[in-house]
Amino acid sequence: MNIPSELKYTKDHEWVLIDGDIATIGITDFAQGELGDIVYVEVETVDETLDAEEIFGTVEAVKTVSDLFLPMSGEIIEFNESLEDEPEKVNTDPYGDGWMIKLKCSDLSQVETLLSADDYKALVGV
């Protein structure tokens, strides 16, 4: 299982890449494997400002519907619209083409609440 060391993680199996005050967010390789074939990603919160832990979207596999929780507070500035036609990118490239949103963070100190790659490895037991 791929858990890149340069990323931060959440207990909800999301990854976060911090670049300045912009966070790129997706779900982990572990999460996509557990969900199976992803058939729909819905994010209707673009331009909204939400708090950490609020629901920003939904990812649907064939048999399951899962909420997506915001890892940090801020404004959702972009949704990866290519997932509308190719949600399977989340399966094939969860840390690359399968990214979900970009967030303009309102409180960068919240980075401290995220898990390191080692913490996340321990969480999923690898």
Partner: protein
């Protein structure tokens, strides 16, 4: 939790196992979309040994079956099978099932795993003719070999001409080196193929030989997740979703297996319902926009008022759009009717369509 006789085989194949109807069952092996496509285009094999089997025998076997089932089992010849349901006394359905006429005065009833005990008790309670009933569910396995290449891929395993077995007919014969198994031209996918009933002690050999014989045809093991998307593309009802103790066979679109040529449980009320017309109907719908309908979602009218509920829904792997079944008032049930599916905060427009969703 029970295991089928192939539990370790599934785990060795890398299946994700989930509890289903009291059994650990393979929900997927490689991935639901590739498994779905394999059955639509080639051939796949399912372990559905969780299904229940009752044998009903004796001089009065047919009398009992006629009393509890909605279809007319007197029309069955030896070697033929029939889809039917068990109506309850209150307008609903105890279960749906397949009835096989094995020989004179001997019938095999194949029921849903989740309903084995309920069905057994129900049929037993109606058995005042003293037909002999035997529950074979724990001793028998069921494999489904489904897909357009099933006949060709499996022919080497049997001395019977598989192409000669017509839909909903069966033979009792040799298969994969085992004598006296039921080879039945039935299934729950719409893509053709067979179902094989055998003893638990025989199923490992049969499973292995099926995979071996199917190798050149691209056979794969298929899990329950693809079984559900395959059946839903055909619009086949799933008990517990689309039909249950509260839905009548008339409103569920099962009039074709509800024959008033005989008396059966609640037949007078069902006949009246058919004559007057059901107040609501199970319809098939496709979403006009992006989204996936799911079991339990509300169906709403143009003003946002709830008019019904989704009983099954998925993203159709073959069509790439959201499809589903659900109950609506009869006035919304004509093909072409516009309804809306409440998906989270959005009411997504949908159109009532004719079944099947996907023509194989």
């Amino acid at each position: 939790m029970k295991n089928t006789a192939l539990n370790e085989t599934h785990i060795a194949l890398g299946a994700k196992m989930v509890p289903f109807a009291g059994y650990n069952m393979p929900v997927q092996y490689e991935g639901v979309n590739i498994e779905h496509q394999t059955v639509r285009e080639a051939v796949g094999v399912f372990d559905v040994s969780h299904m229940g089997e009752f044998l009903i025998e004796g001089e009065y076997a047919l009398d009992l079956i006629q009393k509890v089932s909605s279809n007319d089992a007197s029309k069955l010849a030896i070697g033929k099978a029939q889809y039917s349901c068990l109506p309850n006394d209150d307008g609903g359905i105890v279960d749906d099932l397949i009835i096989y006429k094995i020989k004179e005065d001997t019938y095999l009833l194949v029921v849903n795993a989740s309903n084995i005990e309920k069905d057994w008790n129900w049929i037993q309670s109606k058995n005042d003719v003293e037909a002999t009933m035997r529950n074979l569910s724990e001793d028998y396995s069921l494999l489904a070999i489904q897909g357009p290449k099933a006949v060709e891929a499996m022919q080497s395993l049997s001395s019977h001409d598989l192409s000669a077995i017509k839909f909903y007919n069966f033979v009792v014969g040799d298969f994969a080196g085992i004598d006296h198994v039921i080879i039945s031209a039935t299934g729950y996918t719409g893509s053709g193929g067979f179902e094989i009933y055998c003893k638990n002690s025989e199923v490992k050999q049969i499973w292995d030989k099926i995979l071996e014989a199917g190798t050149d045809f691209g056979i794969k093991p298929i899990g329950l997740a693809a079984r559900d998307t395959l059946r839903l593309e055909m619009g086949y009802c799933l008990y517990g979703n689309d039909i249950d103790d509260t839905t009548s066979p008339i409103e569920a679109g099962l009039s074709w297996i509800t024959k008033f040529t005989k008396n059966f449980t609640n037949s007078e009320a069902l006949k009246a319902e058919k004559e007057h017309g059901a107040e609501r109907k199970l319809v098939a719908f496709e979403l006009d926009d992006r989204g996936i309908p799911r079991h339990g979602y509300d169906i709403v009218d143009g003003n946002g008022n709830k008019i019904g509920n989704v009983t099954s829904g998925t993203m159709s792997p073959s069509l790439g759009k959201g499809i589903g079944l659900g109950y609506v008032p009869t006035i919304f049930s004509q093909v072409g009717s516009k309804i809306n599916i409440q998906v989270r905060k959005k009411a997504i427009p949908a159109t009532v369509v004719k079944l099947p969703f996907y023509k194989v």
